[in-house]
């Protein structure tokens, strides 16, 4: 008898533990957001800062190879921004286009060619060789995108839009400065630089 009771004690009922573990696992998988493929992958420089990038209310300007790509968080804000831009440049977008634009990744084309990019499949977009959003003084569409995104965000989220610059590590300083200047022209003096993580012992 005594031997038998000892045997009983060594085995634990795992059912409840298994339930909890899988519940947590399901929770984590469902809440994790799928990573949107980037239109232009960049090699970010690393830094020791710990603060994280905000999840919403953010516009990201990706700079690499002299080109600038524009990305915006939030579906409604994106649709509103696109509407404002379409109005400004006199380009027509259908409802389907707007819907697709609200979930696509960042883009880097003049607005006149944006419709073609929207109609492509996700895999094709990265191969399309997008030339970047025009940012020179003759046709400064980047400025307009920034301006209209701020208006759209103020209307929908009732907050000031935040900006992040995501530059390629090898990008030369003048092209970064050019984008900073465009931001500063609109009195945006505070923005984030997106960096990777570096060890503490650096």
């Amino acid at each position: 008898m005594a031997v038998k009771t000892q045997k009983k004690a060594t085995s634990i009922d795992m059912t409840a533990m298994c339930d909890v573990a899988f519940l947590l696992l399901t929770f984590f998988i469902l809440t994790a957001t799928a990573k949107v493929p980037e239109a232009m992958p960049v090699d970010m420089p690393a830094s020791t800062v710990q603060s994280k990038l905000p999840e919403n209310n953010l516009a990201t300007l990706t700079i690499g190879k002299g080109k600038v790509f524009f990305d915006l968080k939030g579906k409604e804000v994106r649709i509103k921004t696109l509407e404002l831009m379409a109005q400004k440049y006199g380009v027509e977008f259908t409802e389907d286009d707007k819907k697709e634009f609200s979930i696509m990744e960042g883009f880097g084309v003049p607005i006149q060619n944006l419709k073609q990019i929207i109609e492509m499949k996700s895999a094709e977009r990265s191969k399309a060789g997008q030339p970047g959003v025009p940012k020179d003084s003759i046709d400064n569409q980047l400025k307009e995108w920034i301006y209209n995104a701020r208006i759209a965000n103020a209307e929908i989220n009732d907050k000031e839009l935040e900006f992040a610059i995501k530059g390629d590590a090898k990008e030369e300083y003048p092209s970064i400065r050019k984008v900073m200047d465009i931001l500063q022209d609109q009195k945006i003096n505070s923005f984030s630089l997106v960096t990777g993580l570096r060890g503490k012992n650096f």
Partner: protein, 187 residues
């Protein structure tokens, strides 16, 4: 591990029932192991892959250049860092024409052994200097001048150093004097 509770039964008639009970219980240990492994994996990968954001505040830009007021600072407290091409940087302390003792233009490398040591040294010196003048709150001032040939990594690296060394005041200045350009080209 996987012991099954088989209560001591009685007669031979019960034997069939007992074997059925045994089959109904499955050992879940391995399954739980796997589940927790996956949880750990998902938790770690979701938090680690998030990019970090370095806050950067720039001063107001005045469109009208004539309205800009030059800000006068004590040259004994300022260190100027010129970022050149090919990951080179030159620093001087004080004015370029009349640098303070030991602050003549000199080339440094990025990182722990290079500019960080120098920044910490100058920071200490400046603090001693300010304390001697009776204003221990006046820390060092760093002026960062990225040249056209420097790249984005250099800028982020040097801004990161500012954070590590905890420099109270620093600014990014884009104007180069001809002497400074010469200094970078000569190196």
């Amino acid at each position: 591990m996987a012991e099954l509770n088989t209560g001591d039964g009685g007669g031979g008639k019960d034997k069939k029932v007992r074997s059925k009970k045994q089959n109904s219980k499955v050992d879940l240990t391995a399954m739980v192991d796997l589940a927790f492994l996956l949880i750990t994996f998902f938790m770690l990968t979701t938090t680690l892959s998030k990019p970090k954001a370095m806050e950067l505040g720039l001063p107001d830009k005045e469109d009208d250049k004539t309205k800009e007021k030059p800000i006068k600072v004590d040259e004994n407290r300022t260190m100027t860092i010129l970022l050149g091409k090919d990951n080179k940087l030159v620093r001087y302390v004080g004015l370029l024409a009349t640098p303070v003792a030991g602050g003549a233009p000199k080339e440094f490398t990025y990182g722990k052994e290079g500019i960080r040591k120098e920044l910490l040294k100058v920071k200490k010196d400046v603090l001693a200097y300010s304390t001697a003048k009776g204003k221990p709150k006046n820390g060092m001032i760093v002026i960062i001048k990225p040249s056209k040939k420097s790249n984005y990594r250099n800028l982020v690296d040097i801004l990161d150093e500012m954070g590590i060394v905890d420099v109270p005041t620093y600014a990014i200045v884009n104007e180069f004097t001809p002497e400074e350009t010469k200094l970078l080209e000569g190196k």
